[in-house]
C-alpha cells in the first residue's frame, strides 16, 4: 500500500512539474503547448553532450541546457507565434505539435536509437527505502519543487503587478495593451519560462532512469498535459492536484491490473481519467440544474 502510494507520488511530482509549465502558458496566452516533452528531452541531450562528452560539471551543463531551452521558447514566440497569419490559440497549439515533432525527428537523426547516458550528482538507486521502493533525494526534490512552483507561482500571479499583467493579457490583450502593459514582452517571458520549466522537469526526472532516448520525456509530458487539464487548465494549484490524482490513479490501477495479468496500461488509465473528469465537469452544471429546479412542463 505504502509502496503504491510512493510510486504514485513520484510520478505525480514529475507530472506536476510539466503541468505547471503547461498552465503557465495557457493562463497567459490560451495556448496549450504540446512541445514541453521534446524540449525537455532536447535539454537532456544538451546536458549529456556537455557533461558526458565534454566533462563539464553536471550543474553547469544543466544550467546551460535550461538557459538554452528558455532561449528556444523566446525564439519560438518572437520568430513564429508572433508572426503567425492565424493568431488563433488552436493554431498556435498545433504549431507546438509541429515543433515537438521537429525536435523529435532531429534527436533520432543525431542520436538514433543509441541510448545516451548522463552522469548525475546523485547516484541512481540510493535514497530512502519506503516499503521496498527506493525514493531518491532527487525525486523528493522533484515533488517539493513541483509543489512550491504550483503554489508559489500562483501567489506570484495573483499578488504581483507582473503576474496580474500576465492574467490580464490572457483575458483581453487589447485592453491590457491600452493600459500600458507590454503584452508582447509578457508573452516572450511566458514561453521562455515554460520551456525552461520543461527542461528543469526533464533534468529532475532523468536520474531515476539514467538513460536518454529520443522522445524520452514526451510520454511523461503527456501525463503533465493530462494533469493540467484535469486540474482545470487555468489553475496552478489545480495542476498540482491533478498531477497527484493522475499519479496515484496510475499507480493503483497498475497494482490491480497486474493481478489480472495486464501491465503497461498507464496511458489507458490517463485517457480514462481524462475522459471521466472532462465529461463530469461538462455535464455537472446541467445535472445540478436538473436536481435543484426541474423544468416544469405544463399540460
Amino acid at each position: 500500500m505504502l509502496q503504491v502510494l510512493a510510486i504514485g507520488l513520484i510520478s505525480a511530482g514529475i507530472y506536476a512539474l510539466f503541468a505547471v509549465g503547461v498552465v503557465l502558458v495557457y493562463r497567459g496566452t490560451k495556448v496549450l503547448t504540446f512541445a514541453g516533452g521534446e524540449v525537455g528531452t532536447a535539454a537532456l541531450y544538451v546536458t549529456a553532450f556537455l557533461v558526458t562528452t565534454h566533462g563539464m560539471p553536471w550543474f553547469v551543463g544543466a544550467l546551460v541546457a535550461v538557459v538554452l531551452a528558455a532561449g528556444l521558447g523566446a525564439v519560438f514566440e518572437l520568430g513564429l507565434v508572433r508572426w503567425s497569419r492565424d493568431a488563433d490559440p488552436v493554431v498556435t497549439s498545433i504549431l507546438t505539435v509541429a515543433l515537438s515533432a521537429t525536435i523529435f525527428a532531429t534527436e533520432i537523426n543525431l542520436y538514433g536509437n543509441n541510448p545516451t547516458t548522463l552522469k548525475t550528482p546523485v547516484a541512481v538507486g540510493s535514497g530512502i527505502d519506503v516499503d521496498g521502493v527506493i525514493v531518491s533525494p532527487i525525486q523528493i526534490a522533484a515533488i517539493v519543487v513541483a509543489g512550491l512552483l504550483g503554489f508559489g507561482l500562483q501567489a506570484f500571479l495573483r499578488r504581483t503587478d507582473f503576474g496580474l499583467a500576465i492574467l490580464a493579457a490572457a483575458d483581453d490583450s487589447t485592453a491590457t495593451r491600452l493600459v500600458g502593459v507590454r503584452v508582447s514582452r509578457i508573452r516572450v517571458v511566458l514561453w521562455a519560462s515554460s520551456f525552461a520549466l520543461a527542461a528543469i522537469a526533464a533534468l529532475l526526472v532523468e536520474p531515476t532512469i539514467g538513460v536518454i532516448t529520443p522522445g524520452y520525456a514526451s510520454t511523461l509530458y503527456l501525463g503533465g498535459l493530462a494533469a493540467a487539464v484535469i486540474g482545470g487548465l487555468d489553475s496552478l494549484p489545480g495542476a498540482v492536484v491533478g498531477a497527484t490524482v493522475l499519479g496515484l490513479a496510475q499507480s493503483f490501477a497498475d497494482r490491480y491490473l497486474k493481478d489480472l495479468g495486464l501491465s503497461g496500461l498507464d496511458y489507458v488509465v490517463t485517457l480514462a481519467l481524462l475522459l471521466v473528469v472532462l465529461l463530469v465537469r461538462s455535464y455537472a452544471p446541467e445535472l445540478r440544474k436538473r436536481l435543484t429546479s426541474p423544468v416544469e412542463v405544463t399540460a
Partner: protein
Amino acid sequence: MTAVTLPLNRTTRVHLPMMPLGLVVALFLPALAAQTPLLNEPHALILTEACVLAIAGLSLNVLLGYAGQISLGQYAFVGVGAFTTGLVTGVPDLRLPWLVGLIASAGAGGVIALLVGLPALRLRGLYLAVVTISVAYAASESLFRVDRIGGGSAGKVVPPPYFGSHALSTSVDALTIGLVLLVLLLQVDVNLVRSRLGRAFRVVKADESVAASFGVDVARYKLTAFVLSGAIAGIAGCLDGTAFGTVTGQSFDYGHALALLVIVVLGGLGSRTGIVIAAFLTSIYPPLLVAIFGDGVRGWDQTVNGMVLILTVAFQPRGFAGAFRDAAEHRRMRAGGAPPLPPTRPNLPDLGRPVGMPAPRRTQPGTPVLEAHGVNVRFGGLQAVDGAGLRVDRGTIVALMGPNGAGKTTMFNAISGALAPDAGSVHFLGEDVSALPPHQRAARGMGRTFQLIGLAKDQSVYENLLIAQHLAAPYGVLSALTTVGSRRWERELRTRADQTLEGLGFGRFRDTPVSRLSHGQQRIVEIGCCLVTSPELVMLDEPSAGMSPAASEDLASTLIDIRDKLDRTVLLIEHNVPLVLGTADELYVMDAGRVIANGEPLDVVQRPEVVRAYLGEVSA
C-alpha cells in the same frame, strides 16, 4: 425540367467519368509499369505507402477539414484497422478472406472512433486535442503492445488477398489494391462533399447553433464524422498491413502521425486533391534524396517535414490549396471591380413545403401558432428572462421590442430551443415542444435568423441555400456516400435554391462567399435561407439592424409579403419603431426579463410603462 436549368451538374460532369477512368488506371497501370524498369518492388512499396498516407489524409480531412473536429490521434485509427485485419484474417481455423478483414478494419476503425467521438460532443478545441492525443498514446504505447492485440515484437501477420487461387502477395499487387481503394474513396469523398451530409458537416463547423436552426442534429453529425473518418482510417490500416504482410506496434509511432498531419496541413484542409498530392510528394522525396545523396540524408526528411509543418501552420495555414485559392482570388480582384448592387425589394417565390418534409399541422387563421408561458432563464446571478410569455396567431406579424438587455434574444433562444429555460413551456402548432432540441423544432416548422447573421459565412450564397434545406432531402448516410437514391432529392433542392436566388435578385452572387457580401445583403440571404423550406413560423432577430433606411423599407414590404403572399406567420425582434408600426399586428415589449406590455402596436408604444422602459423615469 431540362438539365440545362440545373447548373450545379457542372462539377458532376467533371467528376463522374473520373471514377471509371481512375479505376482502369489503378487496375492496369501498376502491372504495366512493372514490365518496365520504372516500377520495381521497392518502388511499388513506397507508392503503396503513399496510398496509405493519402487515404489516412482523406480520413483526417473528413473530421478536421469538413466537420471542424480536431484530432491529433488519427493515426491510431490506422493502427486499429491494421491490427483488426491481422486479428480477423489470422484466426487459424477460419481462414477468412481478406475482404472480410477489410470490412472489419473499416468497422473497427468506425466503432473506436465513435467511442472517441462521444466525448467530443461535449468537448471542443484544445480539450479535444488533448483527449485525441491521449488516445494516440493509449493505442501506440499501451494497447498495441498488449501481446494478445499486437502479437508482441513479432507483430501480427496479415495474409495476402487471393484472386481465385492466385495470392496477390507482391508489392505491385498491393499498389494496385491501394490505388483502387484510393480511387473509390476519392469518389466517396466527392459524393460526401456534395451531399446533405457534407453540407451538414460544413455548417456544424461554421456554427453549431446555426446548424441546429436549419434542422441539423449537431450531435449526430459530429458522431457521423468521427465514425466515417475512423472507418476510412481503418481502411488505410488494412492497406498498410496488406502491403507489409505484418503489423507491429512500431508502425504507428510519432513519425507516422506527423507525416499525416503534414500532408493534411500542407495539402490544405478540405482539399482532397492537395492532400493526395502532398501524400505522394512526401512519400516519394525521402527515398529519392537517399538515392541521390546517399545514406547520410536518411531520416532527415522527418526533420524537414516538421519544419515544413511549422512554416505552413504559421504562414499559410490553408496549405497549397489555400495558396492557389488566394492567388486566383488576387487575379480576380485585379481583373474586375466590385460587383454591382442587386435590385432591392426581393420578390419571394411561394415554394410551398418541400416534399421531403412532413406537412406541418396547419392551424386556422387567428388560432395560435406559438404559445410560450412562464419562461424563466437564469445565467448565474442574472435573471435574463423572468416569467415571460407570448402568443403568436397564425397569419400575423408579431414584434418583440425592448431596451438592450431586456431578454428578447434569450426569449427567442428559449422558443427555438437554442437554450433550455429553467422553467416554462413552449407550444408550437398545438404541440408541447418544450423538451425538444432545436433541430426537431426546426423540423416542425420553426425557422429563425440570428442577430449576428446565422449563415456559414465561408460558403457561397448558393451553398447556404442548400445547407438551409437540410430537412428537405431526407436521405441517409449511405445514399450520401454513393449518390444512390439521393439525386432526385438533390434536384429538388437545387430547383428551390435557384428559385429563391432569383426571387431575392441575388443571381450574380450565386457563387460569392457570404462573408464578401455587405451586412444588409447577408441579412437578405439569411432570410432567404430561412424561407427556402417554407417554415410555418418565421422568427427574425433584429432583421433591420445595420440596414439603411431605404433597405428597411424594403424589408417592411418583405415582411408583409411573408404574411400575405406566403401566408406565413412572423415573430420578430426589432428596435426600428417605424418598421414595427408599419408591419406588426401585435407588439410585445420586454424589460428586465418581463413582458411589460402587449397589444396593438400604436397603442403599446404610447403607454407610460413602455416609454419609461426606454427613456427612464421623467422627474418632474
